[in-house]
Structures are given as C-alpha cells and as structure tokens.
Amino acid sequence: MIHKPFHRTHTDMLGERPAPLATVGVMGWMRANLFSSLANTVLTVLAIYLLWVSIPPFLQWAIFDGQVYGENRFSCKGEGACWAWLDQRIGQFLYGFYPSEETWRINLALVLLFPALAPWLMENVPGKRYLRWFSVFYPIIAVFLLVGGFGLTEVSTDALGGFTLNLVVGLAGIVLSLPVGILLALGRQSRLPLIRWFSIIFIEVVRGVPLITLLFVSNIILPIFLPADVALNSVARVIVMITAFASAYMAEVIRGGLQAIPKGQYEAAQAMGLGYWQSMRLIILPQALKISIPGIVNTFIGLFKDTTLVIVIGLFDILGISRAMVSNPDWLGLSSETYVFVSLFFFVVCFAMSRYSMSLERKLDTDQR
C-alpha cells in the first residue's frame, strides 16, 4: 500500500510572480518617496500647493505675459514683466560705461581667461606647460587690454562697471587672497611670537568688522593716511580692501587644514632634513590645501558675491547699474525684473564654482577607505 502524503508538496519550481503593483513603477516610487506616512503625505500636499501658487504665476509673469519690445516702460502694457530695457541697456549691465567701440577688449580678455584657467582647473590639457606660463602673464595682458596704453586707446578705470567690474574685482581678489591667506595662516601657526601676534590681530580685526566699514576706510580714511599727492585708483583701493577681507577668512580656512595634518607629517619632514619653507611647500601645504578646498571655494564664492558692495562707495557694478536704471523715469519701478536678471548672473557663476569644488573634492579624495 502506498501512503499518500498528507500535505501537498510542489515538485516543480513556481514561476516568478511580479511584485505587487503598489511597490514598483511610478506608483511604488510615489508611495515610498511621497506618501510613506501621514506626515509625509501632508508635507507633499503642502509642497505641491506651494509650487502651484508660486511657479505658474511666476512663469506667467516672466515669460507668457512678459514683453520684450518697447521704447520705455510706458510701451509695456499688461500685467507681465517688462523686459524691454534689456535691448537698450544690456551693454551697460555687462560693460558699464566702457566706450562701446572698445568693448571687444573686454570680450577678448574674457575669452583669454579660459586658456589661462584651463591648466589649473582641468587635467589632460594639451600644452599644459605653455598654458601655465600664459596664465602667469595673463593678469598683465588683461590689465593692458582693459586700461589701454601702448597703442591701445587709454580708458579710465572709472569707465569700468557692470558685470565687468564684478569680474575684475572678484578675479583679482581671488588670485591675491589665496597667497596672502596662506601666509597669514602660516603666520598664525608660527613659533615666532611677534609674527604670530601680528597675524592673529590682523585676522581677528578684519574678520570682526563688516566689509562695508573697510570699504569706507578705503574711501574716506586712506586719503587721510596717504601723502596728499598720492591718489590711489578707486578700483585698486576696492581690490586691496576686498583682498584683505577675504584673506583673513581664507587664513582661518587654511588654518583648519593645517591643524588637521597629523603631527607625524611635520616631524617626518624635519627628519628628512627639510627646512621650514621646504617642508611647508612639499609636505604640509599640499595636504592642508587639499583638505580645505571646500572652505577655500566657499570663501571665493563669498568674495565674488561681496563685489556687489562696491555700490556703497559709489562704483557702478551690475547691481549699481540696475539700481540706477530703475530710478530713471523711463524705467521707473522695474526693480523685480532687473533684480531677477542680475541674480541669474551671480547664481550661474557661484553655482558653477561650488559644483566644481565638489567634483574636485571627489577627485582628490585619495583616502583608501
């Protein structure tokens, strides 16, 4: 007699069944990411509502109802944004009061900036050695192009304005504040008490006061401090002050990096017989700067945003130009449009910088963890 088994057993493999509909595809994603709990659902609904009341009206205002043509604000009818000034004023926004027949010089300086930056920002650039030499001479070339002389028509620095002024002050500040910041950071860590105290006082005083007061110093106090016959160019004064300001912050960022280097590295460098500067240049700084890249780039971004402060001492950067324009009877009250436009410039430059620093961080992360 053959016993029948009491329970059924499968002798064949069951085929795969699809996952429940609610956990895959769009539905599943939405359940997991948007409606996973009651609180989450409330938040999602709130967010959708927020987007609904802000995005469509903004697009309606800026694009669908926006008007691009017109002589002045009176030719802009309707509720939408008035972009008519772009056509007439874009030159001022970009170049300030630079003579319009000479603006090619600014454009050329900007184009040449890319090969000058390339060897420092990218790997595998062909002809890296020559480009490095080029970038060393780039500041001289740029100043020559912007100011003129030696055959080019001379243009006063008072004509610098618009986004050009932001770029000039920002780039000069970035290029100068890094080495000054490194020196200050090393000074603060120095074993020589006077050097250390000098660095600490400089860093703490500059970091303790708003940039605006330093700019006032450059405008009002410097003429008192200098001999009567020495008149410093206003753009140069701003660059000096912004550099001093940013380098104090830079010094603190780099100090953080220096402190993160294990003591063994310093001792190993000494044991190899390296002197102070050699060990700094070859052992300590490469590691410290690598750690502090995010902070350094953040300082650069802050510096670039701070270039708008020049309007308080009467220079016309892109923000100054837009402020002047919206108080002009022809374009009175178009502040929302101009501020939206100007903010795009800063957003693009600063966002690019922050993304670049993030990718650099990932690339330089050589920790074998």
Binding site: N33, L34, S336
Partner: protein, 395 residues
C-alpha cells in the same frame, strides 16, 4: 696662519647667524616690527599733515554736539536736538534689533529646513535644496534690495491689505496692534519673568531627580503652565491692566498700533532667508556626521523617530553644528550693516550721516570698528562657553 683661521672663524659665525634657525627668527621678527613701526609713523605723519591742512581737530568731544538730523522710529527717545552720541546709540540699538530678530528667524528656518532636507520625502528635499542653492549663490545685498522693492511696491495706505482686520500691510510697512500699558502691567511682566525662572528651575530639578531615581516628572507641561498661567492669573487679579490697541483706519492713514517699517521687514526677511540657507547646510552636515549606528541603536531601544532626533541625533550633531553656527550669527550681524542701501538707520548708516555732517571720519570709523569687534568677541565668547558645555565629556 692664525690670522686666516680667525677670519674664517668670523665668516663662519656670520654665516651661522644667518642659517641658525633661532637667530633667523629674531631677525625676521625685528624686520616685521620695524616695518610696522615705520608704517604707523608714516600714516601718523601724513594724518597730521592732512588734518592740519584741512583744519580738522581730532577727539571724541564732538559726540556731545546736537545731531540736527531725524531718525525714523527710534527705539529710545530721540529728536534732532539730541547729541551725536545718542544718535549712535539709536543706530546701535537698531543694529542689535535686526540682528537678534534675524538670528532667531534664521535659526528656526535653518534648523527646520536642514532637518526637512534629509527627509525621505523626495519633493520636500528637492524643494529645500533648490531654496538653499539659490539663496546661497546670490549676493545678500541683491536680496535685500529685492525684498525692499517688493515691499515698497505693495498697495498704498488706503488700499492696505488687511490681515483679519487687526493688522494691515501697505507700502509703508506693516501695522500691527500695539500694547496699551496701564498701571499694574508691570506686575504681569514680573509674573512672566517669575514663571520662566520657575519653569527652568523645575526642569533642572526634574532632570536631577530622574538621574538619581529614574522617576520622570512632566516638567514641560508644568513649565508651560507656569509661563502662561502665572501672568494670566496676575492679569485677571489686577483687573486686566494690559490691553491691545488695534490699528484703526482713518482717511489717509492709521491711528494706533505699531508700524513696522518696510526697511526693517525687508532687511529681516533677506537676512533670515540668506543666513537660514547657510544654517540649513550646517545642520544637514551636522546630522549626517552622527553615525548611523546611533539612530539604529535608538530604534532598537524602541524610541520613536521624533524622540530619536531630539534626544539622540541632535545633541550629538550640535557639537559639529555650534562652531560654524557661531560664525553665521556673526556674519548676519555684520551683514545687517548693508541696511545702508535701503535707508534703514543702523549703526553704519547713522555713523555715515554723522561723518558727513561733522567730518570726524577717523573717530566714526574707530567707533564702528570698536563696536563691531566687541559684538564679535562677545558672541564668540558666549558661543565658546556654550560649546564647551555641550562638548563630549571624554574619559
């Protein structure tokens, strides 16, 4: 023979002075001191010459002179006959007002958005990310101007937007109900202060008792009851000595209530959203720095997510958060000086008016620097103390 050896020796010693680390350090420092002294002497001499030429005197005596300019809505009694010193005090109070309001706003906004950005909700975290990225990458000066343009572009006074008929928004700002104080209202405030002190004391006692015996005490509820209940009790006992004056529409303006200027609101909004974005990033990275095992352990103990965040994650994250948070608070205070572009009369703006009127630029700049430096030092001293208090107690 001996002669040459001696010269060799001297040369050797001279070279040793230059190569010896200690003597080289001394030489470098002496050069630095000489350079600084020469620089100071140079600018002092120039200053003497320049001031002598323009016939200006130096010294802080001018601060007692009458200011002859008006200040919009001073926080303390002030008129155009008041002294320069009092004008500066009004400016300082305005700076402190907007800084404190901004710090409160930015902290709330930053912590909320920092926590929400880590939420599993895709839409919310994206929304917060775009807020943070956009606000951080646009100059704060531009944002101040933007908010100010937006607020001054609101409807005129007769067409004010009403908020439940108790507050009104128009292009001259926000008009809110103001308190009316009658004799006895002081006691309500004293009761409030006593309530707060009692609540703090009870929560301290409750924590100590829980540490010793493990018994819990509803200190949050009791504290809330004390803070709210005590003033209300006094208020009722004394016959309601404190009232609210609701602004009333007149033909061209409002009567009663307090008007908050659009400058203050714009500055506050801009500083709050700008600094809030930075704080949001700091909070996010602080929370991420707490290892995953901590929250897993808390869940294993049966703590709910809310309690895990409050009792396990945040206290550990705070150690990472506090130092950069301090510098954000200081940045906010310093950024409040940008008020000058929209005409909010803070310390820098009023100092600028005095400077133009009296010509005492050196003194005004010295006052600015002294005040901002002491604000910075005071804030960082307090935050250092707080940081030390919550720092990890290691074995």
């Amino acid at each position: 023979m001996t002669q040459t050896t001696r010269t060799d020796d001297e040369r050797f010693q001279l070279r040793r002075i230059l190569t010896d680390e200690r003597s080289r350090g001394i030489i470098i420092q002496v050069i630095l001191v000489l350079a600084v002294v020469a620089f100071i002497a140079f600018i002092t001499r120039n200053t003497m010459v320049n001031l002598g030429k323009s016939g200006l005197t130096t010294g802080f005596g001018f601060l007692a002179d009458p200011a002859f300019f008006d200040i919009n809505q001073p926080l303390i009694a002030y008129n155009s006959q008041s002294s320069f010193a009092r004008a500066l005090l009004v400016g300082l109070l305005n700076t402190l007002l907007v800084s404190v309001l901004g710090i409160i706003g930015a902290t709330v906004l930053g912590f909320t958005s920092g926590v929400l950005r880590l939420s599993k909700n895709w839409l919310i975290s994206r929304l917060i990310t775009s807020y943070v990225e956009f606000t951080r990458n646009v100059p704060v000066l531009l944002q101040i101007l933007f908010w100010w343009a937006l607020l001054t572009g609101l409807p005129k006074v007769p067409d004010s937007i009403s908020i439940g008929d108790i507050a009104f928004v128009n292009n001259r700002g926000l008009r809110v109900p103001g308190p009316i104080t009658e004799p006895g209202s002081m006691w309500v405030l004293i009761a409030l202060a006593l309530g707060i002190i009692a609540a703090v004391a009870i929560s301290k006692w409750a924590r100590k008792r829980q540490d010793l015996t493990g018994q819990t005490f509803p200190s949050a509820l009791t504290g809330l009851g004390l803070v709210i209940g005590l003033p209300i009790l006094v208020y009722l006992v004394l016959g309601q000595p404190l009232g609210w004056e609701i602004p009333e529409r007149t033909r061209f303006n409002f009567r009663g209530g307090i008007n908050v200027t659009p400058e203050l609101i714009a500055l506050w909004l801009a500083l709050t959203t700008y600094t809030g974005a930075f704080i949001s990033e700091i909070v996010r990275s602080g929370i991420l720095s707490v290892s995953r095992g901590q929250s897993e352990a808390a869940f294993a103990l049966g703590l709910r997510p809310n309690l895990t965040m409050r009792k396990i994650i945040l206290p550990q994250a705070l150690r990472v958060i506090i130092p950069p948070l301090t510098s954000q608070y200081l940045n906010l205070t310093k950024n409040s000086s940008l008020a000058i572009v929209i005409g909010f009369q803070d310390l820098v703006s009023i100092g600028g008016s005095i400077l133009n009127q009296s010509g005492h630029s050196l003194e005004i700049v010295a006052i600015w620097m002294a005040i901002y430096l002491s604000l910075s030092l005071a804030t960082s001293a307090y935050m250092n103390w707080y940081n030390k208090r919550i720092a990890l107690v290691e074995r």
